[in-house]
Symmetry: C2
Subunit: 254 residues, 2 copies
């Protein structure tokens, strides 16, 4: 059997009790090491916590050579660990399909995900978010216009936008880098576009010291969010409670 | 200190290890009993699992009379339990604001949420969802048109729609009831609208036997989803992997 277990957001104890129990009973433990990361727990720390060896998998292991893992799952209990909630990434969906084609039973053990955690941390209501988008690191000065298209489309409908920031090996995009990219994209828009007035930055969601800060361009650029991971929200108009929440927990000025 | 702890989706062991540890160390345990529910764990079962008494709170206790809870949190460790991920509901945001105004420190312990769980269960990719909506039980034959507006707005942008179904005391809307309401809303639209072709129903997300089924109107209406909770997705066009996933895990016909 193959269990896809979500590890949650930050530390080794953010997995569910049920997930931890499956990990402890598992014959083989694999950790997906390329789309998501627990900043509060290295593979070594997880291995010590579980008192078991962990095999860290690269993208090729999962996408091209998952044969060993699938074969083991035919006769043993195998857990496949990912940060957040499993299956958000297409490569995991593909792995589950391949396993099923080989006759392997699969089950998903859900974990806390950044996509809902941002609601609690910012006080912005879930049903007021539109489509999300992501900002990749520029490649030879080229950057896709998708983030601005998505933000503007959502603003037209008075919807908040959750903006995922790029995660590369040992390089995590910070909020001020994302804002710099947005400034460039808005400045070069044709026809010209006005930038949104308010931004909410969140760092280290799921840890016991998350940083949540709401402000205008100048304020957010000069705020020190500290260590990664970072994520950004571009809010639409604020409802009364959303505004009060941000004033109370995110330094928003009246 | 006041900890908002998310219980996750279904059973008593869907809370995080960190959340469970805070519950076991807490002086007072409150369970929010009106916006979300664990179908796999009654308050009695939770109380036995924690080996501690639980106080179940109604809406009035939280919205109008949270004074006792807040007072206790000034000198003791209090946990406030909710299904899913905390703070998705405005009333909890308001409680956290009130606590802060009284000088009480607060922290959020995140839990798995249906909003991300549907991605893993259906294989639909997170970034392809637009705004979500909900269908309430009709009140004297009146039903809001919002669900159709949202679904159609999302379809215009080729985005999936997550449709929450009403949860009332001892009455949980089922998928076929939601579909019946959608049929009425589409039939009475002015100008007339064509209904979407494909629907995905999900029952008992987070349990070890979730039911996921994708089909057209006739198929979904005749499918038996079993016991609650139910939720519905109205997908936009399907990407290749999304389609293959639904064919493999949700009975979608080619």
């Amino acid at each position: 059997m193959l269990f896809f277990v979500g590890l949650g957001l930050y530390g080794a104890d953010d997995v569910s009790v049920r997930g931890m129990s499956l990990i402890r009973d598992a014959n083989y433990i694999y950790l997906e090491g390329y789309t998501s990361l627990l900043m509060g727990a290295s593979p070594d720390m997880l291995s010590k916590r579980y008192q078991k060896p962990i095999h860290v998998l690269g993208r090729e292991d999962v996408e091209i050579h998952p044969d060993t893992l699938i074969k083991q799952a035919k006769t043993h209990n195998v857990v496949f660990l990912t940060g957040g909630d499993p299956m958000v990434s297409t490569t995991h969906a593909d792995l589950r399909i391949r396993a099923a084609q080989e006759g392997v039973q699969t089950e998903i053990i859900h974990g806390a995900s950044i996509s809902s955690a941002v609601c609690g941390l910012s006080g912005l209501q879930n049903y007021r978010f539109g489509k999300s988008c992501s900002i990749p690191f520029p490649y030879r000065n080229w950057m896709p216009r998708t983030p601005v298209d998505t933000i503007e489309q959502n603003r037209t409908h008075d919807l908040h936008t959750l903006v995922y920031l790029d995660i590369q090996p040992k390089r995590y995009m910070q909020i001020h880098e994302a804002i710099d990219i947005l400034i460039t994209l808005y400045e070069t828009a044709d026809p010209p576009l006005c930038m949104p007035e308010l931004y909410i930055g969140i760092a280290r969601a799921g840890s016991d010291e998350p940083e949540v800060y709401a402000g205008n361009l100048a304020q957010i650029l000069s705020h020190d969010f500290g260590s990664p991971l970072h994520i950004l929200i571009v809010p639409a108009s604020l409802h009364h409670i959303e505004q009060e929440y941000l004033m109370t927990f995110a330094h928003l000025l009246p």
